[in-house]
Amino acid sequence: MNAADEQAPRMRFDLQVIASWIEPGSRVLDLGCGNGDLLLYLKEHKQVRGTGIELAEDKVIRCIERGLTVLQGDFRQEVRDYPEGRFDVVILSQTLQQVLDPRELLIELLRIGGRVIVSFPNFSHWLARLQLLFTGQAPVTNQLPYEWYNSPNVRVITIKDFKRFLRTIGVRLVREVAINTHHHDLEGNVIHRFTNLRATYGIMMLEKAS
């Protein structure tokens, strides 16, 4: 992650990795863009023509104030209006685990974007495994800070499961990286071995199988 390390933008580590994957000048859609940290970075450093979708009014206002193009709304609805191939890359960071029908969503995203980048918390991290094994309770970690009764994470994803899922739905995995994060996820490092056990997040770039 040389590129990300060099510029060291103050944003979540998974977003730093994602940013390093984006080609300069590309058309990017960021779903659930929050305050627009990633889009602003891409605009300033990679001359990206970006659009964000965000549900919270205050975050939308913050983004537009910062000079970004952002739509307020539920991205599952909003993505439907875009014509085929409208974007080069669609980014879905740390949200896939909250989507009821991930298959339908991914197919829709691959319609409007040439490539889709997803990042998601890896539920099979060793800490989560140990908690379940020794306490017999649903894991609660930094990356998965919720109790079973208030978690927005309706889909339990592991890196291994997700790759199997991609084969099932016929989507090609272009690029992948597993990361281990610390310090509120702002810093981290790339994991190369035993990723499904050691990584807190999986990040993958997908495209339609030709």
């Binding site: 009014e57 104030e65 739509l71 307020q72 875009y82 409208r86």
Partner: protein, 394 residues
């Protein structure tokens, strides 16, 4: 023509003793036999538009912002016409030096609409052929006709590209009409609290307002200019309008069931409640400043507004794919509800336009777009700042 326009922009918006003084100007065109042809096929001329400008046009004429006013508005968008004026223009909280629409940076133009009575040609103007007010012989004008007339003014000012069009309500309809009819002249647009087509509900309220005017015996088929005019009908029309500009919550908070200047119910029709008193006051105030026939014409123009008519939306247009949009709606606006703004956004996305959208949480109903609101300020100033940096190359 060019020299005229330079003079026109040179001395506007002088700051004197801390207050921003502006001057109302008039532009007359379409002198016979070169009358403007309207959507209805009728010809109209000469046409005068009242307009005001603030700030200075930059050297490459790229910093112009056209503000389009709502149904009963006028060209007096901000500042003061005279030093001892009690109140500034209708959007003084938004437009001025250091304000979101910053006149230290942008050249702001606001023109009164065709068909109005605030200095532009409308039904109360004198028909040069008869020497008498037009009345109902004034041809029906549409939002497109209003925009067509504004285009003459913009040409006269020597501006070929408008950095941003901003307008709410009927002003938002003009923003969208500008976009469909002259997309190559538009860099960006902010339609606020508006719609792509007037709904049955909106037409219904306008029709009740028109009927209130036309049912007044003093309306006299629109030929009332030598008499008192339909004062009562016009006041009722305005009262209906004000109901649609507020919201259930706004009325509950503002008036509730509170009584006006009394402790108990009167058991007559003199008016018990504060909300009645408010509406009567708004109605009476309006009668003194607005022409009843203009209400008829402008409401009809709004009712005719429909960008979805015919074969698909007129917003589907290759040239519009280069225009940046900021669409804004308000949660409690039931005259032009958020779903209508979302329809607009949806069409613009399909068209490939760069579009931002925000629904602002506000309890005040349709009126919210005119009221001071820090969220609205941040959205507009941030968007304009970006457009300025991208297009007025610093």
């Amino acid at each position: 023509m060019k020299r005229d326009s330079e003079e026109a922009v040179a001395d506007c918006g002088t700051k004197r003793s801390g207050i921003l003084l502006v001057e109302r100007k008039y532009f007359t065109f379409a002198e016979p036999p070169h009358e403007m042809v309207l959507d209805s096929g009728a010809r109209l001329g000469p046409i005068t538009l009242a307009y005001e400008t603030l700030g200075e046009l930059n050297e490459d004429r790229s910093n112009a912002i056209l503000v389009l006013h709502a149904f009963s508005g006028d060209s007096h968008v901000a500042g003061y016409l005279r030093e001892n004026d009690e109140r500034p223009g209708w959007w003084d909280n938004m437009v001025g030096p250091g304000k979101p629409v910053d006149t230290d940076r942008y050249f702001v133009i606001c023109s009164n609409i065709l068909g109005s009575c605030m200095g532009s040609t409308g039904p109360s103007s004198i028909n040069p052929r008869t020497g008498r007010p037009y009345g109902l012989s004034f041809p029906m004008v549409t939002i497109r006709d209003m925009v067509r007339a504004q285009k003459h003014l913009i040409d006269h000012l020597g501006i070929s590209r408008i950095m941003c069009l901003i307008g709410g309500s009927v002003g938002g309809m003009q923003v969208l009409r500008w976009c469909t009819d002259y997309p190559e002249m538009v860099v960006s647009a902010i339609p606020l609290a508006t719609t792509t087509r007037h709904s049955a509900q909106a037409i219904a309220f306008n029709e009740v307002a028109r009927q209130a005017i036309m049912a007044d015996p003093d309306w006299k088929g629109g030929d009332y200019y030598d008499g008192p005019g339909p004062r009562h009908g016009l006041a009722v029309a305005r009262m209906i309008g004000h109901v649609t500009y507020l919201s259930d919550e706004a009325m509950r908070e503002k008036f509730g069931r509170r009584l006006q200047s009394r402790r108990s119910l009167s058991y007559d029709f003199g008016g018990d409640f504060q909300v009645e008193s408010y509406l009567r006051h708004q109605g009476e105030k309006f009668v003194d400043r607005f022409d009843a026939n203009s209400v008829l014409y402008i409401t009809k123009a709004a009712d005719y507004f429909d960008l979805e008519a015919g074969n698909g939306s007129s917003l589907i247009n290759e040239a519009l794919a280069r225009v940046s949009f900021l669409v804004i709606s308000f949660t409690s606006d039931w005259l032009y509800p958020t779903y209508q703004a979302r329809n607009l956004v949806s069409v613009l996305k399909k068209n490939g336009s760069d579009v931002s959208f925000c629904e602002i949480e506000a309890p005040w109903g349709h009126d919210a777009f005119l009221l001071p609101n820090p969220h609205l300020d941040d959205l507009i100033s941030g968007f304009l700042d970006r457009i300025y940096n991208e297009h007025c190359g610093q």
